[in-house]
């Protein structure tokens, strides 16, 4: 058994020796390569690199610059807007019909009492074209507010016998009536007893 085996081992390589010899790996001989110039490529790449960085820098700077400009212009626009709005407000106040009417009234104008229309086709006046009179005007402002009752003190009226007064003043007021004239003569707010006294003298 073992003899057979040894024989086989030694014999096999020998049989395929030629093929093995042919299949053995060897280093490929160096082929001389054609060398391209290296310089232009390096220059190109570095140019691209420098150009890119510089471009990016410029772009960023200009963007910052325009950001400042945007802010400044926006501020200006807001200011102008506000100005326009305040002018609109002013215009609205000037166009207020109440103001226009008051100006017109100061110029002596009144609304027409009776409407009249001029027909352009034949120049005929339709309606009653009488000039307006000052009385045709409309009151433009409200009457002054009346004070509430508790702020309008009642006039204080003191009735007194006229005789002693006459005695002090002599016969200067011969026609003075008895103390009934108080209410008619009493003055407004702030009337005090002194006024009341005078009232009853007249």
């Amino acid at each position: 058994m073992s003899v057979w085996g040894n024989e086989a081992r030694t014999r096999v390589p020998r049989i395929a020796e030629a093929a093995v010899e042919r299949a053995r790996l060897t280093v490929v001989p160096r082929v001389p390569r054609s060398r391209a110039a290296r310089m232009p490529f390096v220059v190109l790449v570095s140019l691209l690199l420098v150009g890119g960085v510089a471009g990016l820098l410029c772009f960023n700077t200009s963007m910052q610059q325009s950001s400042f400009q945007v802010t400044a212009l926006e501020d200006e626009a807001t200011a102008l807007d506000a100005q326009e709005q305040s002018l609109t407000l002013e215009l609205g106040a000037l166009r207020d019909p109440q103001r226009v009417a008051q100006r017109a009234k100061r110029l002596g104008m009144v609304p027409p009492a009776s409407p009249a229309v001029l027909r352009l086709s034949d120049g005929k006046v339709l309606g009653d074209a009488t000039p307006a009179a000052p009385g045709d005007g409309v009151r433009l402002t409200p009457y002054p507010t009346v004070k509430p009752a508790n702020l309008r003190p009642k006039p204080i009226v003191i009735e007194m016998d006229p005789k002693p007064v006459e005695a002090t003043r002599g016969s200067a007021h011969p026609g003075t009536e008895g103390g009934a004239s108080g209410p008619a003569d009493a003055t407004g707010p702030g009337t005090n007893s002194h006024h009341g006294e005078q009232g009853s003298q007249r």
């Binding site: 950001s67 400042f68 802010t71 709005q85 305040s86 609109t88 339709l126 009653d128 009151r139």
Partner: protein, 585 residues
């Protein structure tokens, strides 16, 4: 010799590889742990930190839509005001001095401002809102002049009412908090208000960082609202009504001007009213429209509705003869006329001209309850006009099933039912508009109210109430009222024009006793030119103290407003002559 060397080399690189791998794995797991900590555990805290680092979020308030009259004249407009805002991290240092500057120049509370300027942990605080631009900029400039940083301004619309009290009863107002208070501002708020936006951006040194986070939600401007009101007519009507109410000592008054053909309201004047720029200066009861909210008994003006109904039903003619007794006993009541008289022989035209209650009652007896009720409903009584004003009252017209004879009698001459001023105008306008009722409108075009109703001139409806002939005959009968020879309101007549009208002096139910308390509602309704009506004007004054009636108080107001209208809209006289009224037989 060679083999062992190779093996040892291989062993060394393997070791290096393994060591390196281990190191990398350790580093990576540290990274992973940190990543988990950042993204999983503390994420929100870091987001907040990042936000605080120069990120600004600011609201962008939407412009509120304008309210204009029919010609585009502004009744309410939004002005580009500014809000004053502060960054408390910058202002807290000099808060006291800053608050003094702000409180002195603007109408804000010093202590409130102080707390706002010192608020911790925030970059944004309102200091004052709706400030006119110039004022707000003045404050910031004053602060910067003293070297204080942190105050800034942003857009914030201000509501302005350029005509003050003109149409304030309809337009309403915005209160101090910027919420709608009354009128159209309230009723059409969702339409006018628009939608606020916001902006978020990063800042560095006061400028936006160009490539930083930056997002803007644009505000949406509110829609404009156009009313059918003519601002000039409204102004004039308000002045005339004010003058009439004040001279007659009435408690309140109103005038309604309607375009006869379209039902559009050209003016709806109320007095007392208020200044929309200063609503707090007037009592709360004056802030709405009395012409729509208050109801009252219309009195004799209602007679024209009864008469036109009778004419339409073919039961009478203008020449129908009525014998009017000095007084009329109906059941347990006695009906009188406003003037004492003996037995009168009036035509139906005479009944209108003299405004006889008894004559009207006698003529109306030809109606069943249901007939009169149906006509009055068709004239729009007892139901809201739906013109889109908050809190309109429907008035009252009792169901005919519950009527007794005395109810029909009083309703025929305008007592025992209640109306608001616009309802009554629309009813009389049906006669002016050749017998066709047009629903009144206040909004030009159409708009949806906050209660979901679609209102406006585009949605106005029409229906025939009485025949064209009945309307024409009624108008002719009404021409006898401003006629100085026959009628009760000579002051309503306009020289050169044919005017139809009707006075009303009604007993008034007092608030206190709930009964007729001896006060009156005086009114006048009319239209011109009578044979081709363009405008219907209705005037009403409550509780006059000077003893005047519909003719003496309402008549001149009608005359002034109608003359103004005819002049402004250049309506020529029709050139026809009014038939001479025959009032007696």
């Amino acid at each position: 010799m060679r083999r062992p060397r190779v093996r040892s080399l291989r062993g060394a690189s393997l070791l290096r590889l393994r060591v390196a791998l281990l190191l990398i794995a350790m580093v990576v797991s540290v990274f992973a742990a940190r990543l988990f900590q950042l993204q999983g555990v503390d994420a929100q805290a870091y987001v907040a930190k990042a936000r605080a680092e120069g990120v600004v979020t600011a609201p962008l308030p939407a412009d509120r839509g304008e309210i204009t009259d029919r010609n585009g004249e502004p009744l309410a407009e939004s002005v580009d005001g500014l809000m004053l805002v502060a960054d408390p991290t910058l202002t807290s240092k000099h808060a006291a001095a800053l608050a003094e500057i702000v409180a002195r120049r603007l109408d804000v509370d010093y202590f409130d401002t102080l707390t706002r300027l010192r608020k911790p942990d925030t970059h944004f605080q309102y200091v004052a809102r709706r400030v006119p631009a110039a004022k707000a900029r003045g404050v910031v400039a004053a602060a910067q002049a003293r070297g204080f940083e942190g105050l800034d301004t942003r857009r914030d619309p201000v509501r302005d009412y350029p005509a003050h009290d003109v149409a304030a009863n309809l337009v309403g107002f915005m209160n101090a908090e910027g919420d709608p208070g009354e009128g159209a501002e309230l009723m059409f708020d969702h339409l006018l208000s628009g939608k606020d936006g916001s902006t978020t951006y990063e800042v560095g040194g006061g400028n936006r960082i160009p490539l930083g986070d930056n997002s803007v939600v644009q505000p949406q401007r509110g829609h404009d609202l156009h009313l059918t009101i003519d601002r000039d007519v409204q102004w004039y009507a308000q002045r005339v009504v004010r003058s009439a109410v004040q001279t007659s000592g009435s408690s309140s008054g109103a005038a309604v001007v309607m375009d006869s053909r379209t039902g559009q309201l050209l003016a709806l004047a109320d007095y007392p009213t208020f200044d929309a720029n200063d609503p707090t200066g007037s009592p709360e009861r004056d802030l709405g429209s009395r012409a729509l909210r208050d109801v009252y008994e219309p009195g004799s003006v209602e007679k024209v509705l009864t008469m036109s109904s009778l004419l339409d039903a073919g039961k009478v003619t203008p020449q129908t003869r009525v014998t009017v007794p000095p007084e009329l006993r109906r059941g347990d009541r006695v009906i009188h006329d406003w003037f004492p008289h003996g037995k009168l022989h009036l035509t139906l035209t005479g009944v209108i001209a003299k405004s006889s209650n008894i004559g009207t009652v006698l003529a109306a007896t030809q109606f069943q309850h249901v007939e009169l009720w149906r006509y009055l409903r068709k004239f729009g009584l007892g139901q809201r006009t739906g013109i889109g004003v908050h809190g309109e009252s429907p008035g009252m017209l009792a169901d005919w099933h519950n009527w007794s004879q005395i109810n029909q009698d009083t309703i025929a001459f305008g007592q025992g039912l209640s109306v608001n001023a616009v309802q009554m105008t629309a009813a009389v306008n049906a006669i002016a508009n050749r017998g066709v009722y047009v629903s009144p409108s206040l909004v030009k075009g159409e708009a949806r109210t906050s209660t979901g109703e679609l209102v406006g001139s585009d949605t106005a409806t029409q229906h025939r109430v009485v025949s064209q002939r009945a309307a024409r005959l009624t108008a002719q009968m009404m021409e006898s009222v401003p006629n100085p020879e026959t009628g009760t309101a000579p002051k309503a007549a306009i020289e050169g024009y044919r005017v139809a009208g009707k006075t009303g002096t009604a007993q008034r139910v007092g608030k206190r006793c709930g009964c007729y308390d001896g006060t009156f509602t005086v009114s006048f309704a009319g239209f011109a030119p009578a044979d081709d009506p363009r405008f219907t004007v209705y005037v009403v004054a409550q509780d006059p103290k000077n003893g005047g009636g519909g003719g003496s108080i309402g008549g001149p107001v009608f005359h002034k407003i109608m003359s103004y209208l005819l002049q402004k809209y250049a309506v020529p006289p029709t050139g026809t002559k009014a038939p001479t009224p025959k009032i007696e037989w």
